[in-house]
């Protein structure tokens, strides 16, 4: 008797649709569904965009997931999302993988971002050069004394390796932009699964140093002013300093689609890149608009 009920329920459940229904955009239905996945740096921005866009275009549904830039691109290659969010450019290996699967990723720049270096408000250090930053994260400098601070051990916080932010930091800061450098994060760097984890730890721990997208840094945390060389001036990250390139650690944020998009996805991307509304949201969340 129990078996009978369960099997009926099962049949009812499964018969209510088929596998194609929510893979990607189904143009036969009145509402269209866009799957958006990837960078945790972009995820809250993507969510804000999705919310605003859906309130104006109720026939479109957008689902947003994080997981890291690598996750988004992998999903794009696996064919499970429409738009991949990435806070770094697609890697050559990923491009190769894509082409071997017959996918041609198209890149769109949707905003710009500064990577802020943050320390606990109690920490007296307020400026660092790129070289010092690189030495701290690679393990050469282990105590705050080494950069003019107090006698405290340095606790290094980082995002996980699947994060575009992490990769960008590795290339631009640790390796100072040199393509052939093999410098790595020191092994005792804490790889936290999220931006919020970094914020929390820096907030409570006077020994900590972390980095994160400008949009993630709350007002009560202390940001470090960075100089490219000791002779340059030390600059704090902001919309202005990103746009005039004086802040050394700034980057573009991307969305990728598999091939040129059409229909609802194209309209959405167009709105993101060209509408004032969407770019206003960018500024509101602490990122840098592209105009």
């Amino acid at each position: 008797m129990k078996c009978f009920i369960f099997f009926t329920l099962l049949l009812v459940f499964l018969s209510s649709c088929g596998p194609a229904a929510s893979q990607s955009i189904s143009s036969t239905q009145a509402s269209t569904y866009i799957e958006n996945k990837g960078s945790d740096t972009i995820v809250n921005l993507a969510l804000a965009w999705a919310e605003r866009y859906q309130s104006e275009h109720p026939e479109v549904s957008i689902s947003v997931t994080g997981g890291g830039s690598g996750t988004g691109i992998a999903a794009l290659l696996n064919g499970t999302v429409d738009i991949a969010n990435a806070s770094r450019q697609i890697k050559p290996e990923e491009m190769q993988e894509a082409q071997s699967k017959g996918i041609n990723p198209v890149e769109y720049i949707i905003a710009r971002d500064a990577i802020a270096v943050i320390v606990n408000p109690e920490n007296p250090v307020k400026e660092l050069t790129l070289q010092q930053l690189s030495d701290i994260y690679s393990g050469k400098i282990n105590n705050w004394r080494g950069v003019g601070g107090e006698d405290r051990p340095i606790v290094r916080l980082s995002r996980e390796t699947n994060s575009g932010t992490h990769v960008y930091f590795l290339e631009t800061v640790l390796r100072l932009g040199e393509k052939n450098s093999k410098t790595l994060f020191s092994t005792d760097t804490l790889l936290l699964p999220s931006s919020e984890g970094i914020i929390n730890e820096v907030r409570q721990n006077p020994n900590a140093i972390g980095y994160d997208g400008l949009g993630y840094v709350p007002k009560d945390l202390k940001m470090i002013a960075i100089a490219r060389q000791p002779s340059d001036s030390y600059v704090l990250p902001s919309i202005a300093t990103v746009n005039d390139n004086s802040y050394p650690i700034a980057r573009d944020l991307y969305m990728y689609t598999a091939g040129k998009p059409n229909g609802a996805v194209a309209a959405y991307l167009d709105w993101i890149m060209h509408s004032d509304e969407a770019q206003a949201i960018v500024a509101e969340l602490g990122f840098v608009p592209i105009k």
Partner: protein
Amino acid sequence: MDKSLSWREYVITRAIKASGYSAIVFVALIFYFLLHDGLPALSEVPLADLLGQRWYPIENYFSILPLITGTLIVTLGAMLVAIPLGIGTAVFIAEIAPRWTRDILKPLVELLGGLPSVVLGFLGILILAPFLRVFLNLPTGLTALAGSLLLGGIAIPTIVSIAEDALDAVPQSYREGAWAIGATRWQTIWRVTLPAARSGVLTAVMLGLGRAIGETMAVMMATGNAPVLAVKLTSLFSPVRTMTATIAAEMGEVASGSVHYHVLFFIGLVLFLISLAVNVAASAVVFRQKKRAERVLS
């Protein structure tokens, strides 16, 4: 009427038999998938690299040693916490507590067993880690120790539950015999009852161990996830990265079929084999104890 009845009976019996074998089918299937997607790692990554020093997959450093040591040290710490507390509580519930206390405590401990690990991880970040940092004057509280304490909390209900059942199953005549010759209750517990329940208690510990090794969310949130080679005793107070947290954190980002994908499945395979070993050891212990008991009684 009789014919259709026996035909129905036949079909149902066959279905039940098939269901019975399903457990074996699933274990075999899981093993197969892990092998299929994990073994290629052995050919793609030279063995020297797999056992090297660094885990940094985006630059092709694929050593799993830091991850293994991370799991080991967190599990070791967890067992140091869980075994005394677990067995002690089990003894208390089974042998010392009055009936009414028992009836409250047992469900209460089972309640802890039901708490999802993500909740414990959540409290770990918010409360335990800062507390450890301040109390022990550490650079950060997100350490193997934090993970061990949380894992100990997760393993204790398993140990208490099974060990208490084992102690309860010891015939009262054993205890009465000991009391009759003048032993105190305390002496009876440690020299008669506990040894008699040895196989059940050992099973409890092994199952608790299995739970600790396999735990994912609590360690991912609370241990800092730094892939250090945790070989010193002081590593307990530094951040570590476990095998389970690595899989959970990185699986989403891999393109299926890539080297990284295969290495993650390989780690999964290692975890599967470890839990297999623990379980086989646990059931071997039970089996040997049973055989010995049969010899004694015959």
